[in-house]
């Protein structure tokens, strides 16, 4: 059972490692294949943001419990430029969806809880949770 684990995010290889780690954690928690795929995909998007736009950062994941149900919580943080306009970044601009931009609205749809904090010049932290 994954408790508190973390992974530094610096290069593209780390995105692959992150995916594998989250896949393993979700599998251990007994998520269905579809739910596993959803959380791993969300992780991939967010971790890529941290590496590509955030100049690197950290991925942390932990098992959480609430009201008798279990979940997987991911925290992706970077010390990059920060997002200028959060509202814009969270706006679902594209139905043609070639994935331009940071994929935040998409990632949000794949999880049950989504929280983002970003400050210009300081960095960005995204916390997402997927319940079983």
């Amino acid at each position: 059972m994954a408790r508190n684990e973390s992974l530094p995010l610096a290069s593209e290889q780390d995105i692959v490692l992150a995916r594998q780690a989250i896949r393993k954690a979700a599998l251990q928690l007994g998520f269905s294949i579809v739910d596993q795929t959803k959380i791993v995909t969300a992780a991939s998007e967010l971790v890529r943001n941290a590496v590509v736009y955030g100049g690197g950062g950290t991925l942390k994941w932990e098992t959480v419990a609430q009201n008798g149900k279990q979940g997987l919580r991911l925290t992706i943080s970077d010390q990059g430029r920060g997002i200028e306009d959060l509202t814009l970044a969270m706006k679902d601009g594209w139905t043609t969806g070639t994935g331009l931009g940071m994929g935040l609205p998409g990632a949000k749809r794949l999880v049950n809880e989504f929280k983002i904090v970003s400050e210009r010049g300081v960095g960005t932290t995204v916390i997402v949770t997927r319940w079983k």
Binding site: S32, I33, V34, G68
Partner: protein, 285 residues
Amino acid sequence: MTNAQSRTHTIVKKYGNEMLAGWMNELSGSLRTDRRISQSELSAQTREFLALLETASSSDGIQNLEGAQWTPLRDFLDSISRSRAEQGFSSDETAMFIFSFKKPLFERLRKDFGDNPQLLAEETWNATELLDKLGLHTIKSFQRAREAVINRQQEELLELSTPVVKLWEGILALPMIGTLDSARTQVVMESLLQRIVETGSETAIIDITGVPTVDTLTAQHLLKTVTAIRMMGADCIISGIRPQIAQTIVHLGIDLQGITTKATLADALALALKRMGFAVSRTKG
């Protein structure tokens, strides 16, 4: 409060066997005609409970049942609750396992502290509190186990009631019956997608003749499923849309986005065959 702990511990340690007999007496009374559990099994369970209680009460923290020293006892009660739940016992029958221990325990306390009313009252109170907490824990655990049983049964029922059938080479049908809730729809849809991949079927027909009503969430799930099927490279036809559902769809403002719909499963099958280049002809009569 340390004195209370060591007293409970002492009493259980010293008079365990005697209380066991009294306890079994109580239990046998209520479970007399019950064949779901045997005397020897019951006896073994009471014995283990006392042994675990003795160990747990030997250290501090009798007030807090969440403490580490109570874990073995709690786990034991969890496993008893689970087995009772699966055997079909009720929650009070299960709780009686703990509560029927009160009588022999209080009798023992009376014998030991009978000449000291203050102490007797205190000890009786501690004992009641402890057993009540354990009893409540057992009931909670029982309810969880019961829910798990019900969920499992629902899943099994689900699999039975929404099978994916092959209508023709390359054509699968999913006749849905009954009301569709979110969870059910998701599970069913996932299995349909899986079967499409497994069989390499070009067309899937989702028939909702047997579905009385559809709410926004279910309609969205249906739409998402159809989109997913097309994304994989297969085609999907929805058939059996009743007039009421057609109205609901329009009222809810749901856009069917070019999804083919047919009134009946038969029409959908005819269309699917046509699309695949088949023609049906009569050879006799």
